[in-house]
Symmetry: C2
Subunit: 137 residues, 2 copies
DNA sequence: CGGGATCCGTTTCGATACTG
DNA sequence: CAGTATCGAAACGGATCCCG
């Protein structure tokens, strides 16, 4: 288990369950990684990188290691040249998919709402510009 | 809207919806704050602090400001002496409760699973100690 | 191909002290 | 009461170079 995760679980084992979820799923790329592995069943390191839009190898490695340490992802190393490493979901990882989908769904609705808000504010600002122009003209 | 949230929404508006959820709900104390506000309807700054177990005022302020900037929480200031500030959920905040509950639920199941795992490993280690003792004896 | 080592800038957390 | 100001420590994401 990841040290950070263990610290949270041991530390304030009560009333902070949501924070555990955030700690486990909250890294950069992690929900996307889990979704891709759920969709494709099994992916190699390079395939994952391409599908994610080329994060640094260093970063991708770290995220995958953390997911592995937290038990959501299984890593299979084929000892051969050139090397080949496959990743897939563990049972724990598959069990997290409903939550990942809930995160995706709410995040999408939230982003849509906020984009409308941004557009509204922009339109308002332009309207004010028009008024200014009218006054100046 | 919080700058960080806007950056994510504008930046890679696609395929990262789950990351938006994490950005909005992912701070320390944030899910707990939302749950408490949902449960109590309205809470003052100090009440929230006590219910959360006394995080630093600085920290609590920051989390509440971010939730407010992201539109999940409404802040009402009563201009009086001594000051009085009330926090409650916005519609957006109430809409996030199913997700917060999903985070709590999965986090709880995950923590229970990992606690069993820790106990199992500890028992195994003690068993090995017993074996060592037997050999040494 | 799939990383590890090293370094860096930013963000975040948290403690202490002070204020209208 | 409900913060703000300041500071230090740590975590995180990311870039660059190197390796078997």
């Amino acid at each position: 288990m990841r040290e950070k995760t263990e610290r949270i679980i041991r530390g304030w084992g009560d009333a902070c369950d949501a924070e555990i979820s955030v700690a486990v799923l909250g890294g950069a790329w992690k929900p996307s990684i889990l979704s891709l592995l759920d969709e494709h069943e099994v992916l190699r390191f390079g395939e994952l990188g391409r599908l994610l839009g080329e994060p640094t190898a260093r970063v991708l490695t770290r995220q995958l290691r953390e997911l592995e340490d937290d038990g959501l992802v299984v890593r299979m190393v084929y000892r051969q040249v050139p090397p080949k490493v496959e990743y897939r979901l563990s049972d724990l990882g598959r069990g997290s998919m409903p939550l990942v989908e809930a995160l995706t769904s709410w995040g999408g609705r939230y982003a849509a709402h906020q984009r409308r808000e941004l557009a509204r504010l922009t339109a308002e600002a332009e309207h004010l510009d028009d008024l200014d122009a009218a006054v100046v003209g």
